[in-house]
């Protein structure tokens, strides 16, 4: 019996040795360094940091390397590490208006205070495979002309511009005594507030949010969106230290923010005005913040007195299924042995089949009798 337990252990150990070998691949090739990954695969790093809810590019790189490039597996690794870290406190809210901007676009105004800045983007590239990248001697890219915003300059967000006219719903206010929730610390209960919804979406799977956001555009809970503003850059993070009585800067982080502006004809609860959907993720994740802001807006149907008809508006549906670590675990748990339950079902199916054939036999018998009688 002791031996048997070891048998299982041996199998698992072997499997993991195989995994390690496959992960490394051909050892005549140099191993990837974390620095190479953070530099050259930054968008993967970004996604893993965002959905792993841990802003640490080196750890994200390690996770991706260990996960053989499987981003969801890497997110999982990062999350499992994150839970073991002590909590010192919660930082002050970041102010994206003071962001050191590297990219900033608005689809609603041709020009606006602060200007438009394309920055590092795939937009307007031609999607042609660049075979020079495949060749070994990759040329150093040209030095771009920079037109960075001046540091410390406050660049107002588009939503603030419209707000002066009262056309735009103001920034959401939370009640004085409201403590911002944290769904990694407290069990989620429905209905959830917008703070928890946004946290859930920020950690949520990019693909899932993309599909949901896309569905709203195709008419499943249409929200008439305009990309009011998307910005990417660095913001300062600070912590209020009780003993000192003031904010202490901790450093800066890269974030991507999207403010979606949605046409809104008004309802019993709110006047006609532009409403907003919001998206923000650590790192560079433009697709994610855009999808996130579409879904955020859709989830606000109740507050705005709209009718809920579509999946993207269904808070319980969206929040319960957005997490790819949960989803992966539960889908893949079907690999675990289930033979006890299967045995119970085997027994049932055999019984049901026996009953079915018996019943059918009887009816066929009756028909035969009838035919004979005729």
């Amino acid at each position: 019996m002791y031996v048997a337990v070891k048998g299982g252990e041996k199998a698992i150990r072997n499997a993991h040795t195989l995994l390690a070998r496959d992960r490394r691949g051909d050892t005549s090739l140099p191993a990837l360094t974390l620095a190479q990954m953070t530099q050259q695969l930054y968008l993967s790093i970004s996604r893993v940091m965002a959905e792993g809810s841990l802003y640490d590019a080196d750890l994200a790189a390690l996770a991706i390397k260990q996960a053989r490039g499987d981003l969801i597996e890497a997110i999982f690794l990062l999350r499992a590490y994150r839970t073991t870290l002590p909590r010192f406190g919660y930082s002050q809210p970041i102010d994206t208006a003071t962001m050191l901007i590297r990219r900033r676009i608005s689809a609603t105004y041709k020009d606006l205070p602060g200007g438009q800045l394309l920055g590092p983007t795939f937009d307007y590239t031609q999607r042609l495979l660049d075979f020079t990248l495949a060749a070994n001697g990759e040329e150093a890219p040209a030095t771009p002309q920079t037109q960075a915003f001046e540091a410390q300059e406050r660049v107002p967000r588009v939503t603030e511009l419209l707000d002066d006219e009262g056309l735009m719903e103001p920034d959401a206010e939370l009640p004085e005594d409201h403590e911002v929730g944290d769904l990694t610390r407290e069990p989620l209960e429905f209905p959830a507030g917008r703070d928890l919804r946004l946290q859930n979406l920020a950690r949520g799977d990019e693909g899932f949010l993309l599909a949901l956001g896309y569905s709203t555009q195709r008419g499943y809970g249409r929200t008439h969106p305009f990309a009011g503003e998307i910005r990417l850059g660095e913001v300062e993070v600070s912590l209020f230290v009780e003993e000192l009585g003031f904010d202490v800067p901790l450093g800066e982080m890269t974030v991507t923010e999207c403010q979606m502006i949605n046409q809104f004809a008004g309802s019993a609860k709110a006047p006609p005005q532009f409403t907003r959907g919001y998206g923000l993720v650590p790192g560079q994740g433009e697709r994610k913040v855009m999808a996130m802001s579409l879904v955020d807006r859709s989830l606000r149907w109740q507050e705005l007195g709209e009718e809920a008809t579509s999946p993207a508006q269904d808070e319980e549906f969206v929040m319960s299924h957005s997490d790819n670590v949960q989803g992966t675990g539960f889908v893949e748990h079907l690999k675990l042995p289930h033979y006890v339950d299967f045995q119970a079902e085997l027994d049932l199916i055999r019984r049901l089949r026996a009953e079915w054939f018996e019943k059918n036999q009887k009816t066929t018998g009756e028909t035969a009798d009838l035919e004979a009688a005729q």
Partner: protein, 313 residues
């Protein structure tokens, strides 16, 4: 058992979770014990194993385990299934406690899908891994609605499902995760154990704890609590019966696994509870196949390739 990896305990707290988290989980467990069968929401942590692979059970075990405990870890009734091995190793690494395969010798048993055949005693705790804690989930997918149904004891829908089974098949066609009424108040999902095991929950001497990590719920059945499988007066609950004893140890009235022996479809039925089977054989019981046909010493000795146990799981 393997030796505890000291390097791991250097970096992580005893039983992996920090003490703050353990206290939070213990509070949920205490609440669960105080309200038998009620699903207590708790802030499940992200664990280093996937959701759906026992994270709930692991968190409950981690919150109650102490240095003096002896842990038994089973899956499908067996100590040897891969995930049981993986989870056992997790606790060996993070706690260094003693482990055992003997039901009687364990103070703490974590299980997936089975209750051991050996009756449990007052000084034991049984921890179940739960995938979907909500017995009403497949009748009503909304948490907001099911919570209300529990609060108001609106369980008519549960019986509608059983009614439909009888109307269609002539009998209740639920074979596992068969719903129970706990302490005459809450309808509870016993986790996907076969309904064969349901009667063992009724007035069990041991404390039963249930952990669902992904769904973030804990519930409990204190010792000696009434646990009644839902049924109709004229269609009473009937546990599954096997019409043959274990092929290896001859045990009757135990849950059996069907093992396919060849591609001609010949098969044997053997104990699902591997420890129980082992004990009986040690005591000298033999089934009609006598020795295990899978023990054929084709490559090395039976002990080396672990098949004596394998065939009895």
């Amino acid at each position: 058992m393997s030796t505890p990896a000291t390097s791991f305990t250097d970096h992580y707290n005893f039983a992996y979770l920090d003490e703050q988290t353990k206290r939070m989980i213990r509070r949920a467990i205490l609440k669960g014990i105080a309200i038998p069968g009620y699903q207590v929401p708790f802030a499940a942590r992200e664990m280093p194993m996937p959701y759906g692979w026992g994270t709930g059970g692991v968190q409950v075990t981690a919150a109650v385990i102490g240095h003096s405990d002896t842990l038994k870890m089973i899956d499908q009734g067996s100590d040897d299934t891969t995930n049981a091995v993986a989870l056992r190793n997790f606790f060996v690494q993070t706690t260094g406690v003693n482990t055992t395969t003997h039901t009687k010798g364990a103070s703490l048993i974590q299980t997936r899908h089975r209750i051991p055949e050996e009756p449990l005693s007052e000084d034991q705790v049984l921890v179940y891994q739960v995938p979907i804690p909500e017995p009403l989930r497949f009748l009503e997918p909304r948490e907001t609605e099911t919570r209300k149904m529990h609060a108001l004891e609106e369980y008519g829908l549960m019986h509608v499902k059983l009614y439909e089974d009888i109307a269609r098949f002539g009998h209740i066609a639920t074979t596992y995760a068969y719903p129970v009424l706990v302490n005459e108040r809450y309808v509870m999902d016993p986790s996907p154990i076969p309904k064969f095991d349901n009667p063992k929950m009724h007035r069990m001497e041991a404390l039963q704890l249930f952990g669902a990590g992904r769904e973030k719920r804990i519930y409990a059945i204190p010792p000696h609590t009434d646990v009644v499988s839902l049924d109709f007066e004229d269609h009473p609950f009937t546990p599954q019966e096997f019409d043959q004893p274990c092929a290896i140890c001859g045990a009757e009235h135990v849950y059996l696994d069907e093992v396919i022996l060849d591609d001609q479809g010949s098969r044997m039925f053997v104990c699902s509870d591997s420890d129980y089977c082992e004990e009986r054989r040690t005591e000298g019981h033999t089934g009609h196949l006598g020795t295990n046909p899978l023990d054929a010493p084709s490559n090395g000795t039976a002990k080396d390739n672990a098949s004596s146990k394998e065939a009895c799981k």
